[in-house]
Each structure stands twice: as structure tokens, then as C-alpha cells.
Symmetry: C2
Amino acid sequence: MASIKDVAKRANVSTATVSRVLRNTGNVTEETRQRVLEAIEALNYQPNVLGRYLRRMETETVLVVVPDITNPFFSKVLRGIEAVALKHGYQVLLGDTQNDARLEEQYLNVLPQRQVDGMIFLTARIRKELMEEMARQFPIVLACEYLEGTDIPTVSIDNISSARKATEHLIRLGHRRIAHLSGPMDVILSRDRLRGYYQALAQHEIEVDAALVQEGDFTYESGYHLTLKLLALEKPPTAIFAANDEMAIGAVKAIRHRGGRVPDDVAVVGFDDIHMASIFEPSLTTIAQPMFEIGQKAMELLLRLIEGIDVERRQLVLPDRLVIRDSCGGGRSV
Amino acid sequence: MASIKDVAKRANVSTATVSRVLRNTGNVTEETRQRVLEAIEALNYQPNVLGRYLRRMETETVLVVVPDITNPFFSKVLRGIEAVALKHGYQVLLGDTQNDARLEEQYLNVLPQRQVDGMIFLTARIRKELMEEMARQFPIVLACEYLEGTDIPTVSIDNISSARKATEHLIRLGHRRIAHLSGPMDVILSRDRLRGYYQALAQHEIEVDAALVQEGDFTYESGYHLTLKLLALEKPPTAIFAANDEMAIGAVKAIRHRGGRVPDDVAVVGFDDIHMASIFEPSLTTIAQPMFEIGQKAMELLLRLIEGIDVERRQLVLPDRLVIRDSCGGGRSV
DNA sequence: GATGGTGATGTAATCGATTACATAATCGAG
DNA sequence: CTCGATTATGTAATCGATTACATCACCATC
């Protein structure tokens, strides 16, 4: 494998000159430039990036930590990140924690080890102090999630208000017994959506029934099983607000398997607006998050942190939108 | 940021000894070992992996090139790769080409640049000669796809026979006008599935009608629109075999929008058995690929190539399975 | 007591590129 | 014609770890 020295020898110049040609820095006459390029061509030379990384102490690589890459929501956000990364010549390393919080903390180590220039977390179950300490020293951005009481740069939507919006929509349609399929309570996003749900109930003076709130884990399966549980209640809900679309689809299926109809017997609202939400029948009423844009903004923010540009607005809240479809009845069908 | 020198100084040893402690190689007395560990602890030292990489000329990282990470099929394969990689201390770099063949060739360059120790391609639209030349010099494994007439290590199913199986199932149910929604013709996998479809027709002496074969791109949207086209034919098909589940779902939706019922008016068979295939209504009859296992095997194969172990069976064909559900009628419902 | 083996540690080369600094050549202004 | 600026190129240090090789101490064996 040819190295820069071989190229230098063949072109009859120093390695410094070869490097200058490679990186297009400094002054090189067109003539030597050509000689170097010819040598590169002849030797089929490819610069070894490890040498460069070590010397420059940067890898132009960012790590994205995802809780679950098979979840379409995250892969869409990832796409946004990739788009911006590619445009700026950065590579994206993927860390899939498969919902394991310990793995999450492990990934944090790649920063001091200098393996990447920065990180984006699409999950935030790491101990707050640890995360804060790292964020002080290295470029880190949280997307979708955030950590309470920190000023770690964040891109997300306002989960509380959107959950409130979703719940209010059901109330407006006349529902009073509204259940909530929450996400895991150790992620803030789930707690926020639950809070929004509570706020909506309170605002309309609807009493909270603890039995109507069930903690899931964002999977179809959990949505399905928890809904069976809800339907077995003495006074089952007439509407279900699920913390994501996959659980909402699970809910619909469970209702059907029990002989119920959606939305006639039970109305269902989801969250995220994944592709399947509009395809599934009945199409899901849901909160649309700008997934791609969240990814873009997060990466843009990260780039500014890496480049040491002072970031004025560190906490970005993007707009979301209630998309009314067929799964909750009442509204017009889109 | 502390380096190995700082640790050495503090522990009153040479950097060589620190390295020995870090890597657990060579002989070190328990006493100095402790001193070194204390120094590491005190300085909060993390080894800079770039130095290590350069010296050892390996990164314990593999690159996985995916045509579309938002496609659940690929993310499932990726999971299998990750599982094995993690167990062997390898990191996984993700390259999402977003179906751009040029990007695919670009990714190939990270190998001679020594950025990764090996690559797995879940797509193979690269020029054959180029790919072969690289595969001769570096560890490369193809998964799902393969390149005709090469002996590049590959893990996949037998797409021809499984497509034949799927088509035959429809024939057995009495269908004679069977359409095929193919994938893009520049990927071999699509051509193989088309071939299997043709074989089944030939075997049962059913004439091929060119109008019944439509080239899609594996997306829901293409499945939807091509099916509308099929339904507008003078003699529309009574069954549709789609080259993947997402197009199959698109087909079902199109049939419904035209007032048809599935499977009563038109039977539909998919391919891959993604999660949604069993959830969607009607549940999809489809070819189940062992996605996770494909990933695992591919990574295992790659590891052996990286470690220079002679690989006897370079081309691995895994078993697939026809899963009969509701979308094609006739069979029992699962 | 000489010899050789083993274990613990240190010295310094090395991986491949980048870049601060040095040097040489060229040019233009006064 | 000289001086300083500018341009082109080279020399060598550097990034941080790993490791071949050297050294030294200690012990066992004959």
C-alpha cells in the first residue's frame, strides 16, 4: 500500500508538498502539482486517514446514538442528520443501544477517546451529571429528548403542548373516558406526553382515572397488550391516546380483536406521524413531528459546536401539528 | 487532555509499561500495575484511539452500506450485524446511500484509506470489476445481494426459488392472470425474483403478459401507483406478486381505492415478512427472510475474512419460508 | 561460580500524515 | 543594485499509542 512517502519520492518532491497538493493548502506551482497528481495516479495512492486524524486530532465523524434503529421515527431523524453531515463532509457513525441505557453511557466514551468530533443523542437516559460533564467538554446535542434543568443544546418539539393538543381533540369530540398508553417512564419525552394528557383533562375538569394510564415501551406489542387490559376494565375507555403511532396501531388491532370498531366504539390518536400512520386503516389521527428537520437542525447545531462557533439559541423547539384522520372519528377525513 | 505520557510520568514508569497495563499484554508486576491504574484513575485518562489505530493499522470498525435505512428490512439485517459486531468488540459505521449508486462507489474508498477493517454491502450496484478488485484486496461481504460470476463472499436467500414458490402458491389457488411488481431492474435481487416468477408461469404453461410486469422501486408509493396502472388494464390481473411487502401494501391500498377487495377480487403476495406484514389488514402472505440471521452470518463471515482465516464456504444461502396469511385467500389464516 | 533462562521494565523506532519553521528563489520597488 | 516581500519547497517535529529490541535483576542448574 503506497504511502505519502512513495508519492513524494516518485514525484521528486517532499512529503510536505504532496500534502499541500492533497489538502489544497499553501502554494504549489501548477507544474509540480501535476507531477504529484501523476504520481498519485500511478501509485493508485489513497491517503491513510488515520495518520491525518491523529495529527489533526479530528475525525470529521459524528456519532448518533439511537435507542432503536428499527423504529421508523428514528431512522427518519437519522436521515436528516445524514443529509446535513454529508453536505459538510462529515461521516455518521451509528450507535444503536437497543434500548439499553448502559450501552448509552458506554457510547459516551468515544468522545474523550477522540474517535468522533461530536455526538447526537436521540435518547437521554444517561445520568444527568455525567452527561452535563461531558457536554461541558465536548460537542453534544440532544434531539427529541432533553435533560431537565440543563442547558445542553437540544432540538425537539414541545411534547407537553402537543400531547395536550391531542387529548383536547378527543375531549372536543365528546370523549370523557380517555386512556393514555404512555412510553417508558424513564424517558422524559414519555413523562411530558403524560403531563400534556393530564393538563388537558384538568383543563376540562375531567377526573383522572389511574387505571386508564398504562405504561408501554413504544412497541406495537405493548400497545396491543395494554389495550386488551384497558378493554377488560369494568368501565373501559371510549378513546385512547397513545404516545406513539406503533402503540396506537397495536391499540387498534386489540380493539378489533375484541370485536370493537375504530373509531365508532373506541377512538384512537397516535403520535409521530410515521409513514404507516397514513397507510394503516383506519388512518391514524396523530401528532406530526418534523422528523427530518429535527435531524437537520440537530446536526447543524452540532456542527456549530464543533467549530466552536458561539451558539446563541441552544434549545430549539420545532413546531408540530395535529393531523386529523380517520382513527378518531368526528373530524374530516384526510 | 491527559496522554499516555502523563500517566507514565505520574506512575513513574515508561509509556511502554502503561501500554502493557492498558492492553493486558506482557508481564507487569501487580504492584506497578496498581500504580499505573491509580494514575489512570487520578488523571481520568482515556486512551486516544487514533494513536492506537495508526500504529496497529486497524480500527476494529466495519462499514455497512445500506441502500435505505428507513426500510425496515435493512434495519433488521443491520441489527443482526450489530449483534455479532458488538460481541466481538467491533464498531459499526453506517453508510446510507439513499439509493444512490454513486455514493455506493464512494464508500468503497474508506477501505484503502484504512478507515475500517472491512465492509458489508446490503446493496450491490457497483461496477463488478471495481468491486472484485477491492474484494481481492480487502475484506468485503455482500448480504442479500450478490454479483453474478464472482466469488465475493455472500450471504442471501435463493431469491429465484422463493419467488417461484410465491408465484406457484397463487397458481395453486387458481390464478392465471398474475401480475408482478418488481424492484428496480438494476439490482440483481429484483431480476432474480422476476426470474422466479417467470419460471413458475412457464412451469404451469401460463403465457407471459408483458403488461402484467411493472418495475417499481420497493417503496409503498410505487406499489400503489403501479397497481392503479394494472387495474386500469383491459384485462386486469386477479393476483399480484410484489417483490417486497411495502409495495404489496401499496397494492392492497390501490385495489381498495378502486373499490376492490383483497383477497376476494385480487390476491396479493409480498416478500420479506417485515413486522407490518402480519399487522396490516389483510395480513400479508409473504416470503419470510431470516433478516436478523442474514446480518449475523454476514458479520461472522466478515470477521473471518478480517482475521485472515480461510473461509471455505464463501457463498451462504439461507432458508426462506412462504408464510400464508390472509391477503391471498384460499389458504388458512395465520 | 559461570551460564542461561525468565521476568520486569525501559528506550526508541514506528505507523502516515500535517505543519511550523527554515531556506532558497524570484520579483518589484526605490 | 539592493532590500524586503512573496512564493515555492524542503526539513523535521509532531500527534499518541504500540512494540521490537535492549537491559538489568534474579534465580536455577550444572
